[in-house]
């Protein structure tokens, strides 16, 4: 037991004395959460727009005011002609142009079909879609307010409600994603690198010619990273809940338990990688290629799995982060319990067993 404690202590020395390791361990999660939380957001605030009001009527004025009062839009300039629209888009100063045609009021008040043109800069397609949707909704609102009793024949009134995330906050999506990414990165990458380092420096040779068993050596490597990763997970959850206002509707205990399970899985993968490679550099690349990229692109963290081509959808099933993100979203946002989440939980357990088993099988009491 003494041996084991000494080993864990040594491992902590390694971690605490290496600035790069410390930075990855604690700087990375903070930077990720804050970056995604405040800088990289696809929510729309104060998008710059231009108005070309050929109608110059109270109606056009009121609709303009309503658009600008929404908080989504900010008036960049009032345009005078159609040529101006193209010029403004080319300069890139505006994202959306609203055009009131001549005779807008006339058509509107005489019950004829009146039109407003929305022109969006679709070089950023997601923003363009969101902006036109917001603007359309606001304009429709205006007509509805004006004519509350107007029952137009055979219109379908669509009313949508956003459940679980009525304000459409991005934080709800990326906090679980960042958590999965950081935990994978820290756990898998760091363990695989640290074991490869011992192999590279030759200290593994000396350790092998000692009474320490290979299992003890592995466990000694895992325990410190398990603790630190768990701490990391807690920090991310706390940041999400207290700084970014992500709700925690489900059980905190369940969330922590699932986090621990996921960390264990990531560590198993890290050990598995390290049992296959010889050097730190290879371990690092293997971890990044095998873990980080699929986690970002195929887990549904950034791109929805449903809109992927079929082959990629199938591949996404073997990405551990996919299941973990689902679980975290379920617990934090939907308040789901284990009765809804047993399936992904079981998948994570299965994967852990698989990778632990494989690495234990690869364990050698000798060099070759």
């Amino acid at each position: 037991m003494n041996r084991f404690i000494a080993f864990v202590r040594k491992e902590f020395f390694h971690i605490l004395r290496d600035r790069r390791t410390l930075l990855i361990l604690f700087g990375l999660p903070l930077a990720q959460v804050l970056l995604f939380g405040f800088a990289l957001t696809n929510e729309i605030k104060n998008a710059k727009i231009a108005i070309l009001d050929n109608d110059k009527s109270p109606h056009s004025q009121q609709i303009t005011n309503k658009l600008l009062a929404s908080g989504y839009f900010q008036l960049q300039e009032n345009l005078r002609s159609n040529q101006d629209i193209e010029r403004a888009f080319r300069k890139g100063t505006i994202k959306l142009a609203v055009v009131f045609p001549t005779g807008f009021t006339n058509n509107y008040e005489h019950g004829r079909n009146s039109q407003i043109q929305l022109l969006a800069d679709a070089s950023e397609q997601n923003t363009a879609i969101s902006l036109t949707n917001y603007a359309t909704a606001i304009i429709r609102d205006y007509t509805a307010e004006r004519n509350p009793n107007a029952q137009l024949p055979l219109t379908i009134d669509v009313r949508s409600r956003m459940v679980f995330n009525p304000e459409l906050k991005g934080a709800f999506v990326f906090v679980p994603g960042v958590m999965a990414m950081v935990l994978l990165l820290v756990s898998a990458l760091m363990t695989s690198v640290t074991i490869a380092r011992e192999r590279e420096t030759g200290t593994l040779e000396v350790l092998m010619v000692s009474p320490l068993s290979q299992g003890q050596i592995l466990l000694g490597k895992v325990v410190p990273y398990l603790l630190l990763s768990f701490l990391n997970g807690c920090v991310i959850i706390a940041l999400g809940v207290f700084v970014l206002n992500v709700p925690l509707n489900g059980s905190l205990l369940l969330l922590l338990a699932e986090t621990l399970l996921f960390i264990f899985l990531a560590l198993s993968i890290g050990i598995f990688i390290s049992s296959l490679v010889e050097t730190q550099l290879v371990a690092m690349f293997a971890s990044l290629m095998a873990m980080l990229l699929p986690t970002i692109f195929l887990s549904g963290f950034i791109f929805p799995i449903e809109s992927m081509p079929k082959p990629l959808q199938i591949i996404s099933n073997i990405i551990p982060a996919k299941y973990f993100i689902g679980i975290v979203k379920g617990i934090m946002i939907k308040g789901a319990g284990l009765q809804y989440l047993w399936q992904p939980t079981l998948v994570l357990i299965g994967m852990s067993v698989l990778f632990m088993g494989l690495s234990l099988r690869n364990l050698k009491t000798r060099l070759a």
């Binding site: 003494n2 080993f7 420096t201 030759g202 350790l207 010619v209 000798r366 060099l367």
Partner: protein, 307 residues
């Protein structure tokens, strides 16, 4: 019983033989040197003896334990210092030592007497990171770490490679002292001058043992006449001598060339005349006693055609 017994051991890396059919035994309390150039198979032989590699053929026992079957028990009994620096550079001198002590189930205090003489030199730097020590200091620390659990047999794989001459001498003085206390030590080195400090040595070349004997006795196997030759133009000299009809072999040894001549030829006068004809100046020739390196070179060239 001998401390290390090696019987017809062989090891190949994907069909390329590293050690082939080596037999050797080391007596208890002996300081045994394994001498050979890089790539001779010394490290592979070491790794098999300290249970890190499985031999393809043959068997070996260390301290009475079979290196394959009793590897667990054996790991408690051997001290192993690999060729390259194998400590944690980010841990301090003291932390490294206490880590290895704990791993082997002991403490620095308990076995301090074993390492005292070496460790006193390191003590002023005990809080310094091992990575910041000089080459000689690193090796001393590694030796302490290999000794701290009171091993019965000590394996040192090229402990003095990359260490300066003074530290090398100090290191061998320490090995001698440890040996006087009865510690069986197997040490490998590519440096021929270190061979004379061992009780017995084995020459190793391309995976085979060429000769095993006491350092003094081994030079007596050198039967031919040997001369040290020097002249103003060393480069031209070695060229001419290798072309000479009486020459068996000629190697550069520092500022002199060591010239071995064929059995019935090559008196001092004959060599002198030959060199004068070739217009060499400042010629110096004298007969010398063969050293360990001369012997090794001779054994090497003898076995090469058959190898």
């Amino acid at each position: 019983m001998d401390a290390i017994i090696i019987e017809n051991i062989s090891k190949a890396y994907s069909k390329i033989p590293a050690v082939s059919d080596v037999s050797l035994s080391v007596r208890p309390g002996e300081l045994f040197g394994l001498i050979g150039p890089d790539g001779a198979g010394k490290t592979t032989l070491f790794k098999m003896l300290v249970t890190l590699l499985l031999p393809d053929k043959g068997r070996a026992t260390v301290a009475g334990r079979d290196v394959v079957k009793d590897y667990k028990a054996l790991r408690q009994l051997v001290g192993y210092m690999p060729g390259r620096f194998s400590l944690y550079p980010d841990l301090s001198v003291e932390e490294n030592l206490s880590f290895f002590a704990t791993v082997f189930g002991t403490t620095i205090k308990e076995n301090y007497h074993l390492i005292q003489e070496i460790y006193v030199q390191l003590e002023p730097f005990k809080n310094r990171r091992a990575g910041q020590l000089s080459g000689g200091m690193k090796q001393k620390l590694a030796l302490c770490c290999a000794l701290i659990h009171k091993p019965e047999v000590l394996f040192l794989d090229e402990p003095t490679t990359g260490v300066d001459a003074v530290s090398r001498k100090e290191f061998w003085d320490m090995l001698r002292k440890l040996n006087e206390r009865g510690l069986t030590t197997l040490v490998s080195t590519p440096y021929m001058d270190e061979a004379s400090r061992c009780d017995r040595i084995a020459f190793m070349q391309t995976g085979k043992i060429l000769a095993v004997d006491q350092p003094v006795a081994i030079t007596s196997r050198f039967k031919k006449r040997l001369y040290a030759v020097r002249a103003a133009d060393t480069y031209q000299l070695i060229h001419d001598l290798r072309e000479a009809p009486f020459t068996e072999s000629c190697y550069a040894f520092g500022e002199f060339l060591h010239l071995t001549v064929k059995s019935n030829e090559g008196s001092e006068q004959q060599i002198g005349r030959f060199l004068q004809e070739k217009n060499h100046r400042n010629i110096e020739i004298h007969a010398i006693q063969p050293g360990i390196e001369d012997t090794f070179m001779a054994l090497m060239t003898q076995t090469q055609p058959t190898a």
